[in-house]
Symmetry: C2
Subunit: 387 residues, 2 copies
């Protein structure tokens, strides 16, 4: 998965553009910071590998080469299992048609856990467990914030009915999980802290409701990058899932979950034209390279399609990637900026920080790995995709 | 590139979801319609292959297996050249660092044309042509609508200076090209017709300005799907470029450039949960499968992340994909709809029409090809990507 580069073989000055650049020291610092937090709070980190989709990054973020890990697709589970990861949570509600692949992975020695949030879903997992003579482990998804899927923690009877359908039906009731997706919309850091407590409370309440009914609930899993970064108390929680913290991005910086200089991912691009009268600088990074994600549009500071940096990764003269076509982007001064125009001749290379690391990463097949302000590419790490 | 399927080998009921489904008869009708228009108007169609990124689709849309064709990346040019396409326009402004790959393609027998819109750009192409002893052909990009790159057609002297830099500098001045990107924002069909005439006029005026100065301008290239579908007169134009017409999408339907039943691309998805109190149906198609493109948000009818159809491709009960997470989508009734809720049990399979065929296609590695309302997958065609 790694293509080691001979020193000097490739640099940010010679790579074909656009491409995805990963600043390894920034990533390492991001990983160390969250690992230290989790250790202080006494919980296991089960990193969400949907963000990196890379074996090399996974090995740097997981506690061990065997895991634990979280994934969002069976393709990720299969790729990571092939690379030796043995403890994987597939954190999206399972459908019966996906159980063949789940069983195949489990038969090859990967402890893959699925997620259900309905009686019908639990019954399907239990039925298949009985039919195969193997207990498929499942977590029950809890809805802590109305964001997405899950049983509300106060719906005690439906929750227990799902638990019993798993536990008594031949599957393995392994616990509960929840995700505070609404933390991305928090107004401020206090809002994120409150959301973290709400997330914890929902998971712990649900676990207690199951246990009070005599059902097992060893795993109490919570997580989102904002709540993981600001949770102050995780009593009763056994593990935290988070993904985007590995790279961070402009949405996270806008939420004050990181600083802009923590963002480890950028898109390398080349100036291909100008519309001088309009103050436009055209580059070869359009939405295909950046993704269509405009997650900062709803934040206090709109970063459009990204913040423009120089080759060393430092923001450049208040420039943003204002508009994108498929393979062309338009860089302008941030609307309202009083900064002087920056002269960027044809051929100038730039790096653009993304709104959303998961979405921008998904547009690329590899990371070009650099270290700090050195232009040297020290490695190329492949990404995978698909389902 | 084609994996022929034994009859019955795969159907829309058995494919892993999410995946990309292509209705071949709809695509064929879309292709036939534009080809007939172009024939009536007496111009060559140079289809833009950035939309399909597939050899199999290219062979169905090009006039011959050798082309002509348009691409938006050198990766596309290389892939199509490898498959035998010999006449390719790379329709994004060239940078000097990309000329190695241009020359390599030309040396292998592909007539690849590049695009410039500045004196510096023309000089770089000319300089490299002289250094290599081979005239690289170039079109001058004309800005017909302020949308993106290009020289305004009334900037006669800059235009001629670029032309001379190419023609007298050792490159080949092959002509002019323009793209009416603003046609996507037209208020109505009359607006598109007016934009088509503006696009034609800009290209023809620029060509005449070059010719009046004694410069060659054999190619006069225009195009966008909306203007290609509504142009009434293409006098002076030699070729039309268009891409998205092959599949069409909800943005084009919103512009009345096609009917919704012309949209040939959809994403197959499975129901994985419900939030009954809120009328939510959760599916396994999130933004990873649909893309983040929300191109209909600015149109009269917002289609959110897509229109929900049954397995036969027919719209279902006024349902839209209202919100997306990475691997989960939330289907609801269209806001304001008076339709009755549709009961879609866990495991139900649906097809979702995309806002933007180029963006949704780019999230997938293959087309699952079906014919009309038959669930049988008759072929799998691979897509490529990258730069």
């Amino acid at each position: 998965m790694t293509t080691p580069k001979a020193p000097g073989a490739a640099t940010l000055d010679t790579l074909d553009t656009p491409c995805l650049v990963l600043d390894e020291p920034r990533m390492a610092a991001n990983i160390d910071r969250l690992k230290a937090r989790m250790a202080r709070l006494g919980v296991t980190l089960r990193p969400h590998l949907k963000t990196p989709k890379s074996i090399e990054v996974a090995l740097r973020v997981m506690a061990s080469p065997q895991g634990p890990a979280t994934v969002s697709t069976l393709q990720e589970a299969e790729q990571f299992a092939q690379a030796g990861v043995r403890d994987i949570l597939y954190a999206v509600g399972i459908s019966a048609s996906k159980l063949d692949r789940v069983l195949a992975l489990r038969a090859r020695g990967t402890d893959l856990t699925v997620v259900v949030d309905s009686l019908a879903g639990a019954q399907a997992v239990a039925e298949r467990s009985r039919a195969e003579g193997t207990a498929i482990p499942a977590l029950i998804e809890i809805d802590c914030d109305g964001h997405r899927a899950g049983v509300r923690p106060d719906q005690t009877e439906p929750l227990r009915a799902i638990g019993r359908a798993l536990h008594e039906g031949g599957a393995e009731l392994r616990g509960v999980m929840t995700h505070a997706g609404e933390s991305y919309n928090a107004a401020d850091v206090d809002g994120i802290r409150a959301m973290a407590e709400q997330e914890r409370r929902a998971a712990v309440d649900a676990a207690e409701a199951l246990r009070a009914a005599g059902l097992p609930c060893p795993v109490v899993s919570v997580g989102s990058t904002p709540t993981a970064m600001y949770a102050e108390n995780l009593d009763g929680v056994t593990e935290v899932r988070a993904g985007v913290f590995v790279f961070f991005d402009l949405v996270m910086a806008g939420l004050n979950v990181c600083a802009q200089q923590d963002v480890a991912l950028s898109v390398l691009t080349t100036v291909i034209g100008h519309q001088a009268e309009k103050g436009w600088i055209l580059v070869d990074a359009g939405w295909m390279a950046m993704s269509r994600d405009r997650g900062t549009a709803r934040q206090a500071v709109d970063q459009y399609y990204g913040v423009v940096c120089d080759l060393a990764g430092q923001p450049l003269g208040d420039l943003v990637l204002k508009e994108t076509n498929q393979e062309q982007g338009i860089i302008t001064l941030r609307p309202g900026s009083k900064a002087a125009p920056t002269d960027l001749p044809l051929g100038t290379r730039l790096r653009i920080l993304p709104n959303h690391a998961c979405a921008t990463g998904a547009q690329h097949d590899a990371y070009q790995v650099v270290r700090g302000d050195s232009p040297e590419v020290v490695a190329t790490w492949t990404r995978f995709r698909g389902w």
